[in-house]
Every structure is written in structure tokens, then in C-alpha cells.
């Protein structure tokens, strides 16, 4: 009887440590999941630590594929782009697990014979760990000690848990100079008073804590250094809290870039983070591509984004995603503008737009920051722990004023309750698999040899792209870090016209490029057409 109990318990534990996680993963749990994959699929998975963060955490890279993975077209899947976005870690890690779970099916077996997936489940492990810490707060920065307010002191003014609930929310202070008031749509929410509408503020509003360094700013220089998603070289914000002392200063960023720049086989980057060009594709802006520093995708690449976004919509059920926030120094933009690859990104989940419950006499909401909508949704879904009611605390900086701590809990607006995660992982895995089926792929058509006279032969053919995505981006045509299609012709004779050795720029999805040569040769001629991101095709002819 007792033995049976233990067996059951053991089975339960195995299930837990396997694919069926019950909550977002700590660093330790994620590391276990990563290693478990390597153990379970030794022929398909290689695990490597790209670097260790200053917080002594490995940046994991999972290579999924067969044979010489570096020579097959690849998708890079990146999670933990934003440290407070735990879901991004789950989507990347979950993709690896779900994909491998299907690896015995013909279609995925076939896919893994042809392509490689590089999965980086968490680029911000120092920051995501804050979700599990004794003091829980939304954190983007790594473990680097930074002087966020540039006053010469490091981490001297962090948060304080004034109401002792283990998490950081907001703090409001009744004050005649306050610019904030409670929202008419939901009195729990604070909004800025609109003087032009005759509104008058009643509260000062801060994050929860004390002004430890007495500089008038609250919690402006706490634990939490440089954010991965603010440290990239495109549109980099100089001297902004969390952006670092200069572009690409951080170990995490450098390690990933050092790998990616050598991975010429990567044709697309899928990242899970705040940037979203899957729910709504980018639009073409002519002025943006006519300046020296371009700020718009090229038209051909916009077309690809539209196609991929359409695929995303067919798979992902939730619509009405919010607009991409204004980002600087972010990863997804970098992947297109500086890495020259197709870059697709989504937060993976957002608070659904609620409908007013007429039985409760609710009205449609207009609030800008979405908090009222979130609270209504949370109520409809019966989600607990989404709001900390305002409660009075004693505050040393405001000894004679009424100070209350409360507000929407950290993380909840970006990270859904965990029970929703498996379904989101499933959908996004399906999406990435669909994207892989659109991969650019080289082939040839209309191979023709014409004997002109006395040993002179004209060879002509079309190089075709059998994939829906272009062989490379338009921006990739310009950079050293994307390889062109390389065409070589070997023969025992002389090339009279055409080149024995040449490169071809981007071929659009299902497009073609005609080539021809005039040869004075006989016997065997070999033409090789290859690019690391598009595959290789060899043709042998006998003249």
C-alpha cells in the first residue's frame, strides 16, 4: 500500500518535471527543462551556454535539428527579450518542447531534416527571477550594478514593500498639488486629471517605496541594471535608465550577437517580446528608406511581413492586439535593421478587449492604459490576485499626509494566468512551424544546353525560389552579414560569356533569376547554387 503510494508520487513528480509545468519557470526550473530536452532527444538537441550573466545565470541556446545543423536554413527563436515578460520565456521554451514532442511525426521529422532551429529561451534571466523573488516586481534590467540616476551612487534607492505583501505596486499620497485622481470608469484606477475638462487632481502618485537618498525621486536607482531590450544598436537610447553606458555593452547581448553574426544560415528571427509585427504588419514608409539611416522596412520585406502576419492571424485566436509600444534599442528592430533578417515578434498574449456586462449596467471603457479593461476582464475570468486594494500606510517621507499603497499587481497585464499558457504555446508552435514551411529554398528550372558550333555551348537556366519568403531581405542585400546566393560553374573549358563565379541578390518568394553562360568546353559541367540560408542545389551536365 505504502509502496504504491510512493510509485504514484514518483509518477506525479516525473510529470511535473516534464512538459507539464504548473507555473512560470524559475531559472533553476528552466535550466532543468533545457537539460531534460538534451537528455530526451540526444540526436536532435544540442544545448550550450552562450555566456553567464553577472548574476551567474547561463544564457541557454538549444540547437534543434539533424546532421550538420550549421549548414541548414534556420530560424532563431528568442524569449525573455523583456525581463518582466515571463510568457516570452514560456513561448520560446514551450516551442522547443512541443516541436520535439512532435518529432516522430512525418512532417516534423521532414522539417528537422531540412532546417535548424536555434532557441534562446531566456535572454533576461537575471530580471525574470524577480518574479519569483521574496519581493516581486516587474524588472527589465540584469544584475549589473548601475547608477540609474547618475548621481555617483549605485542601487541606493530601490523599492520598499510598505504594505508587506511581497510585491511592489503603486503608492498615492493625498496632496493639494497632486495631478492624479481616481478614474470615473473604475475608482480603483488612478488617472491624470485633465485640467481642460475642469478636473482637479487629488493625489501624488509614485511607485511603492521610500526616497532613500532624499533626492526627491522615488525608487529611481534600485536593483536592476541594463535591459537586454534597450541595449541593442538600432535606435539606441543614450543615457536612459536601463540602456547601459553604451550600445551592446552587456554580456547577454554580445554573446547572442556573436553567435548570430556567424550564423549565416538564419533566415528569420522570431522573438517573443513587446514588439508586435505579427498582429499588425509594419507598413512601408518611403521617406523612411530614402534617408541614410533607414527607419522603414523595404517594400518587398513589408510584403513578406503581411504574408506572415496573415498566417499568424489564421492560427492565433486572440485578436485586437494593442499597438507596439515605442521602443528604443530593442531586439526585434535590430534583427531586421542591423542583422538584415526577417524579424517577426509578438508578445504572444494581451488582455482581451472586454465587452460591458449590461446586466451590471457596465459601459464600454475608454481608458488609455488598459487597467480598467484588465480589471473587468480579470473579474469576468474570476482571476484572483490581480489587484491590491488601496490601504493606508505610514510613510516617513510624508509624515502628516495620507499615504495608500495599492493598484494593479505587477506582471499580470503582460503575463496571463499560467493555465492559459499551454494553449498559447501550442498556437505559437503551430505558427513557427507554418513559418518554417514558407522558408526560402533554392531550385533550378528550364535547364537548357544549346550547341552553337564547334564545341561552343550556351547553358541557360532559371534559379528559382520555391519558398514563399524571399531568399534574403532587401536590407540584407546591403550588409556583409547576409550571404548572397553564390553560383559557380566548373568545366574543363573556357567561359566565353557569363561568370564562372557570381552572386545573386534577393529572389522574392516563388521568384526566379535567369542565368546563362557561353562555354567552349566538353564533357562534364557542374553548376552549384548555394546560400547558407537557402540551401544548395547542384546540377551536372554532360556536353
Amino acid at each position: 500500500m505504502i509502496r504504491k503510494f510512493y510509485v504514484t508520487l514518483f509518477a506525479f513528480a516525473v510529470t511535473l518535471s516534464g512538459a507539464m509545468a504548473q507555473d512560470y519557470s524559475t531559472y533553476a526550473a528552466l535550466s532543468n527543462r533545457v537539460q531534460a530536452l538534451a537528455k530526451q532527444y540526444p540526436s536532435l538537441v544540442k544545448v550550450k551556454s552562450l555566456t553567464q550573466t553577472l548574476g551567474n545565470k547561463d544564457i541557454w541556446m538549444i540547437t534543434i535539428g539533424t546532421g550538420n545543423t550549421a549548414e541548414k536554413p534556420a530560424i532563431a527563436v528568442v524569449g525573455g527579450v523583456e525581463g518582466s515578460h515571463l510568457l516570452g520565456v514560456e513561448l520560446a521554451m514551450g516551442f522547443a518542447e512541443d516541436l520535439l514532442a512532435q518529432s516522430t511525426t512525418d512532417s516534423i521529422k521532414n522539417l528537422l531534416n531540412q532546417q535548424t532551429f536555434y532557441v534562446f529561451p531566456n535572454m533576461s534571466p537575471d530580471a525574470t527571477e524577480q518574479y519569483f523573488a521574496k519581493l516581486k516586481y516587474a524588472r527589465s534590467g540584469n544584475a549589473k550594478a548601475t547608477d540609474d540616476d547618475r548621481d555617483g551612487k549605485v542601487n541606493e534607492d530601490g523599492f520598499e514593500d510598505l504594505n508587506g505583501d511581497g510585491e511592489i505596486t503603486m503608492m498615492r499620497v493625498e496632496d493639494p498639488t497632486g495631478e492624479w485622481m481616481t478614474s470615473a470608469e473604475d475608482p480603483r484606477i488612478m488617472v491624470k486629471a485633465d485640467v481642460s475638462k475642469g478636473e482637479k487632481g487629488k493625489y501624488l502618485l509614485f511607485t511603492e517605496g521610500i526616497d532613500n537618498d532624499h533626492d526627491g525621486a522615488f525608487n529611481e536607482d534600485g536593483e536592476g541594471g541594463v535591459a537586454f531590450n534597450k541595449n541593442m544598436s538600432y535606435n539606441y537610447p543614450n543615457f536612459v535608465s536601463g540602456s547601459g553606458e553604451h550600445m551592446v555593452s552587456e554580456k547577454e547581448n554580445r554573446a547572442l550577437l556573436d553567435f548570430l553574426f556567424n550564423a549565416y544560415n538564419v533566415y528569420a528571427v522570431v522573438s517573443f517580446g513587446p514588439y508586435n509585427n505579427l498582429s499588425k504588419p509594419v507598413s512601408f514608409n518611403k521617406a523612411g528608406v530614402s534617408k541614410r539611416i533607414i527607419s522603414s522596412w523595404y517594400q518587398d520585406d513589408v510584403d513578406v511581413n503581411q504574408l506572415v502576419s496573415k498566417t499568424y492571424h489564421q492560427i492565433i485566436k486572440e485578436k485586437n492586439a494593442p499597438e507596439t509600444p515605442n521602443l528604443h534599442g530593442d531586439f526585434a528592430d535590430w534583427a531586421y535593421f542591423h542583422y538584415g533578417r526577417f524579424s517577426f515578434s509578438t508578445p504572444g498574449w494581451w488582455v482581451p478587449q472586454t465587452k460591458p456586462d449590461t446586466t451590471l449596467k457596465q459601459k464600454a471603457l475608454t481608458d488609455k492604459n488598459g487597467e480598467a479593461n484588465y480589471l473587468r476582464w480579470a473579474q469576468q475570468q474570476k482571476i484572483e490576485g490581480s489587484f491590491t486594494p488601496w490601504t493606508v500606510v505610514k510613510h516617513p517621507d510624508f509624515p502628516n499626509q495620507k499615504v495608500e499603497v495599492g493598484g494593479v499587481d505587477p506582471f499580470v497585464m503582460m503575463n496571463p494566468p499560467y493555465k492559459m499558457v499551454p494553449e498559447l504555446v501550442k498556437e505559437h508552435t503551430t505558427f513557427i512551424e507554418a513559418l518554417a514551411k514558407m522558408a526560402p529554398n533554392l531550385d533550378v528550372a528550364h535547364v537548357k544546353t544549346e550547341k552553337l558550333d564547334d564545341g561552343i555551348t550556351r547553358i541557360s537556366l532559371d534559379v528559382i525560389n520555391t519558398g514563399a519568403l524571399a531568399t534574403q531581405t532587401k536590407v540584407g542585400e546591403k550588409t556583409n552579414w547576409v550571404k548572397d546566393i553564390h553560383v559557380t560553374l566548373q568545366s574543363n573549358g573556357q567561359v566565353l560569356a557569363g561568370k564562372a563565379n557570381q552572386t545573386i541578390d534577393a529572389i522574392v518568394g516563388y521568384g526566379s533569376e535567369p542565368l546563362s553562360w557561353l562555354l567552349k568546353a566538353s564533357g562534364k559541367v557542374t553548376i552549384t547554387i548555394e546560400s547558407p540560408a537557402n540551401g544548395k542545389k547542384t546540377i551536372s551536365l554532360n556536353l
Binding site: D147, R150, D151, G152, H214, D215, S233, Y236, N238, F239, E245, H246, M247, V248, S249, R254, L257, D258, F261, R292, I293, I294, F337, H338, G340, V475, K478, T479, N480, W481, V482, K483, D484, H486, K499, A500, N501, Q502, T503, E530, S531, P532
Partner: protein
């Protein structure tokens, strides 16, 4: 093998030279003004030194002057060489050396622009060897510290010196790059067809050619007029189409430009040709940047390039024009104009306006990201040949004349026939790689000295703080008012306006100890008693800036005490203290 023999010969020559010099008795030498009379480390400044050679100079200086010169390895190059830095100051006086206002100097960021290393090494040598006999140098090293990286690109330096090259190659560092993006790397570089170590020009007789031999100077090729018939084609630099793609020398050593790698307004290579993967993806630059960030006392910087006779300041890119505002431009102008006086034939110019618009340059990072006043000097130009301007442009006859008159044709490989596998019968000839962008030996020391003098002026004008006046007034009932005047007696402010704009460095802190501080304030007008109180931590008054040739006044109300110590703590102005 050939390289090793060359190195061996170099070593013999260097050690031989030391032996010869030490054979001369001090009594046999009569001092030339401005030059150290009895240097402990004998160096000939009329030739160039390879990587090992310049490291040897640095080691000898550090050994001969342990109280003045410290040698540090700040990183490894891409090919694994040690990247060296000399920290030079009077370690015996003037306080914590790394708190003294610092002057950073480097040379040779472009592999072929090698004489910056000799200029930087000369500076190190001059400081150490003159310290004993020159008061100006003693004072300078009491107040300041020099951080000198003689070559910021040692891999490229040795390639230029020991491999076949022309005066322009390689500009790049040595990490291989697939320039033509065909998947093969560095597969079609120059070919030293005549095996003389120099990549010179190829020409071919052609009745329809557009060039002919200059009748006044048979070594020089000139383009014929639109209505004239020529008899030669120019076929470019010595080389063959190694990979059969119809292009000659299109994928050689490198190519990336180490001076497009710096993390201020960095742009990728399709926008800024020469950029590598990401800012500071080159280990040499990263090592320097990390060093600079750990040394906020660096207030001034100089990098040496060639050529053109230019004293350059940023902005590098037109897009960055707003970064340099009026106060800073005034400082730059004063320094640059002085430079024009010190180095005849050199012009003070702005990179984006007068040269080309460029992103990711070293001088922009030093100024934009660190708030350090920085110049890049483009060493050597044709002016120095006859001490007069040469306006003839790119294919000027002046160098041909100079080569003949003063170098006795030592700088030219005379045209000779060669059978080329693709071009057939051609001729090869032209200037050697050590001519055109580099100083001839007899002008090297002279120009090194002038440029060094410019860096001394620049360094001298970094902030020097003095507590010039402390006034104590009794307010009664045990209270006293202490008013301190802190002067900056040099031209540069403690914070460049770029620094102020972004709070790159922390404010200067003026503090009082020796009594209980009741209140503290910054006095705007002492006479009219206008002051701004600092409520928080009044014992440590923060001032944003101490402007050049100017002062700030601070005041405390204190209780008790009779002796007060005033301390000024400024990252770029140093640490100064006075007790009264």
C-alpha cells in the same frame, strides 16, 4: 621565414644602436635645446618599429623609470597579441595617480597609419627622459597623468610592416571578412608579383591608353588631355584575379574599419562602410573603451592617423551636429587654433564638414559618450616636403621631385617589365609603401615633437582646481559662516557641455569637515548675497560644473570647530583639499 630574418635583423640593429650610443661618454655630448641630454633609453626616432619593437621601447621605459612609467596590458588583440598601455605620471607626488586629470593618446588605429605609434612612443619617452631636467614636464606630471596606447591595432601594424602592401593597405584590422559575400574569405587580395615586399602599380603599353609618361619626371604617369593620345593603361595595384570572378584584388585582408566601431551613433556597414558586427565587436577597441570607462579622470584625448596634415574634431557625422554646442566648440577652437600654430602646415578642421561624414568614429565616442575633448591628427602632408603648400592634388608632381631631390630615389620602385597571367606583358613600379603617407626618416622626429607639444598643451589645459580662498565669519552663538572659493585655473571645464546635458559624470562635490554643518549653499553672487541652498546633505555641496578660467563659491553655516577642511572631488578636475 623571410619575416623572421627581417625581425632578426631589426633586433640586431636595435641592440647594435644601444651599444654604439653607450660607447659615447657623457662629456662628449653637447645638449641640443628641447631634447633630453642623457636619455637612459636610447632610441633612434628616424625609423619605424614593428609590434615587438614598440613593445620593447615601452618595456625599457617602464624599467628605466619605475616611478614615472607603468606598463599595463589592457587586453588581447584579435590575433592574441598583448595590447599595451603606458600610464605616465609622477607617481611620487600629486596624490592618487588615477585621480589626476588624464590625457589619453593612441596611434595606428588604421593598420597602414603607423607613425602614430612612433609619435605616441616619442611622447612617452620624452616625458620620462625630460622629467629630471625640465620643470614644465615635472609640473605637468605632478598634476596630470598620460595614458598612452602606442598602437591600438598591433595585428594590423605587423601586417603592414611585414607583408607585401602599398601605402594604403591594409586599412582594416586582421579579422577575415567576406567582402564580396560569395562565401569565400580574403580569397582575392594583392599579389606581390615582383616579390619586393611593396605592392606598387601595374601599367601596360596600349596605343589607345589614356595615360602617358610625364616628360618632366619619367617615374610619374599622367593622364593625357581629352584631345591627346596616350600610350599607357593603368591597371591598378599589383595583383591577379585569384578567384576567377572577373575582379582583381576585391576580397583582400579585412575589410572592416576599426574607426567605425565606436559606440556613439554607430551604424551598420550598409550605412557606414567599414563597420564591423556591432559597436566594440573588435577586441582592441573594446579593451580601450573598458579602460576609459574605468578612468573617468580622462579629460582629454588624442588619436593619431595619417595623412593630410589635419587637426580634426567631431562631429564625425552631420547628423550629430547638435551634439557639439557653443561652449564646447569654444574650447575646441582655442585648442585647435593653437595646434595650427604649433604644427605648421596642419589645419584645424571638423570631420563631417571638412573631410567626410562618418558614423562610429573613435573621437565621437570619446566626446559623445564620455564628454572628453578629443582630437584626431592626420599626420604628414606634402607641405612638409618643401615647407610650402602643395595644391596639385592627388597625383601631384611634388612627391616625385622630393623623392629625387631629398631621398635620392629611395622611395620608388622603378618600372620594370613583368609577364602577367591575365594582362600579358605589363610593367610594375611605383612608390614604396613607406612613402606617401608616412614621414621620411629625417622629418619623423621633428613632426613627432610638434604633435607631442600639441598634446602637452591640450593636457595642460585640462581642469586644474584650486581652493583659492576660505573666509570664516563669526555669526555669534557658536555659529560660523565658512565661504570657500574654488577656482579652475585652466581652460577646460570640469564637465563638457555634452557631459552636463546627459549627466555623464557625477557633479563635482565640495565638502566641509571639521564642524557640524547646519546648512550649505552655492553662492551665485557673493557681493549681493544671492545663494541657492542645498537642503539634502549640506556638508557635501554638489556643483554641476566648474567652468574653465572661472570659479564657484560655496558656503556653509557650521556649529563649532576651529579648523575646517575643504575638499573638492571632481572626476575630471581631480581631488583637492585645503585645511584652514
Amino acid at each position: 621565414m623571410k619575416i623572421n630574418i627581417k625581425k632578426l635583423i631589426n633586433t640586431i640593429v636595435i641592440s647594435g644602436c644601444v651599444l654604439t650610443a653607450s660607447a659615447q661618454e657623457p662629456g662628449q655630448i653637447f645638449k641640443a635645446s628641447g631634447t633630453p641630454e642623457h636619455p637612459k633609453v636610447e632610441i633612434s626616432w628616424n625609423r619605424y618599429y614593428d609590434y615587438e619593437g614598440h613593445v620593447e621601447i615601452a618595456k625599457k621605459l617602464a624599467k628605466a623609470y619605475p616611478d614615472l612609467v607603468k606598463l599595463e596590458v589592457i587586453g588581447k588583440t584579435a590575433q592574441g597579441r598583448d595590447l599595451i598601455l603606458l600610464a605616465i605620471t609622477d607617481y611620487k607626488s600629486g596624490g592618487d595617480p588615477d585621480r589626476k586629470p588624464g590625457m589619453y593618446i593612441d596611434g595606428n588605429i588604421h593598420s597602414n597609419e603607423i607613425q602614430g605609434t612612433e609619435f605616441a612612443s616619442y611622447t612617452a619617452w620624452y616625458l620620462a627622459e625630460s622629467f629630471g631636467e625640465n620643470k614644465f614636464i615635472r609640473d605637468l606630471l605632478h598634476d596630470k597623468i598620460f595614458y598612452i596606447v602606442p598602437s591600438i591595432n598591433p595585428d594590423g601594424r605587423d601586417n603592414f610592416i611585414h607583408q607585401p602592401n602599398n601605402a594604403n593597405s591594409p586599412r582594416s584590422g586582421m579579422i577575415p571578412v567576406d567582402n564580396d559575400r560569395d562565401g569565400a574569405v580574403n580569397e582575392d587580395g594583392f599579389d606581390d608579383l615582383d616579390g619586393d615586399g611593396n605592392i606598387t602599380m601595374m601599367r601596360r603599353k596600349d596605343p589607345n591608353g589614356r595615360y602617358t609618361i610625364d616628360p618632366d619626371n619619367p617615374r610619374r604617369m599622367i593622364r593625357v588631355g581629352p584631345d591627346e593620345k596616350g600610350d599607357y593603361d593603368l591597371l591598378g595595384w599589383e595583383g591577379i584575379d585569384n578567384d576567377g570572378d572577373g575582379l582583381v584584388n576585391e576580397d583582400g585582408e579585412g575589410y572592416y574599419d576599426p574607426n567605425r566601431d565606436w559606440a556613439w551613433n554607430w551604424q551598420p556597414n550598409y550605412i557606414q562602410s567599414g563597420a564591423y558586427k556591432y559597436p566594440f565587436s573588435l577586441p582592441e577597441n573594446r579593451a580601450v573603451a573598458d579602460f576609459v570607462m574605468k578612468h573617468p579622470n580622462i579629460a582629454a584625448a588624442q588619436s593619431y592617423h595619417n595623412n593630410g596634415g589635419m587637426i580634426l574634431r567631431g562631429p564625425g557625422a552631420a547628423e550629430d551636429e547638435g551634439t557639439y554646442n557653443r561652449e564646447d566648440v569654444q574650447v575646441y577652437d582655442a585648442l585647435g587654433k593653437k595646434g595650427e600654430e604649433l604644427i605648421p602646415g596642419y589645419k584645424y578642421l571638423v570631420v563631417y564638414k571638412d573631410l567626410y561624414s562618418v558614423f562610429g568614429g573613435e573621437l565621437d565616442w570619446f566626446y559623445g559618450d564620455r564628454g572628453i575633448y578629443t582630437f584626431s591628427n592626420e599626420l604628414w602632408n606634402n607641405f612638409l616636403m618643401y615647407d610650402k603648400p602643395d595644391d596639385e592634388g592627388r597625383n601631384s608632381a611634388t612627391p616625385y621631385q622630393f623623392n629625387k631631390d631629398l631621398l635620392f630615389n629611395d622611395a620608388f620602385v622603378d618600372w620594370k617589365p613583368y609577364h602577367h597571367p591575365q594582362y600579358g606583358d605589363i610593367e610594375i613600379g611605383g612608390f614604396k609603401k613607406n612613402f606617401g603617407r608616412m614621414h621620411p626618416g629625417f622629418l619623423l622626429e621633428s613632426d613627432a615633437h610638434r604633435n607631442m607639444a600639441f598634446t602637452f598643451y591640450h593636457c595642460f589645459e585640462t581642469p586644474k582646481l584650486e581652493i583659492s580662498d576660505v573666509e570664516v565669519k563669526d555669526l555669534g552663538s557658536g555659529l560660523k559662516q565658512v565661504t570657500a572659493t574654488v577656482a579652475n585655473v585652466r581652460m577646460m571645464p570640469t564637465h563638457a557641455s555634452q557631459d552636463l546635458k546627459y549627466h555623464i559624470e557625477v557633479p563635482d562635490v565640495i565638502s566641509l569637515s571639521g564642524a557640524k554643518v547646519i546648512a550649505g549653499m552655492v553662492v551665485k553672487d557673493k557681493d549681493l548675497n544671492i545663494a541657492t541652498e542645498q537642503k539634502n546633505d549640506p556638508a557635501h555641496i554638489k556643483v554641476d560644473n566648474i567652468p574653465g578660467m572661472n570659479k564657484v563659491v560655496v558656503r556653509w553655516i557650521v556649529n563649532g570647530g576651529s579648523k575646517y577642511t575643504i575638499t573638492v572631488d571632481s572626476k575630471k578636475g581631480g581631488l583637492v583639499s585645503l585645511t584652514k
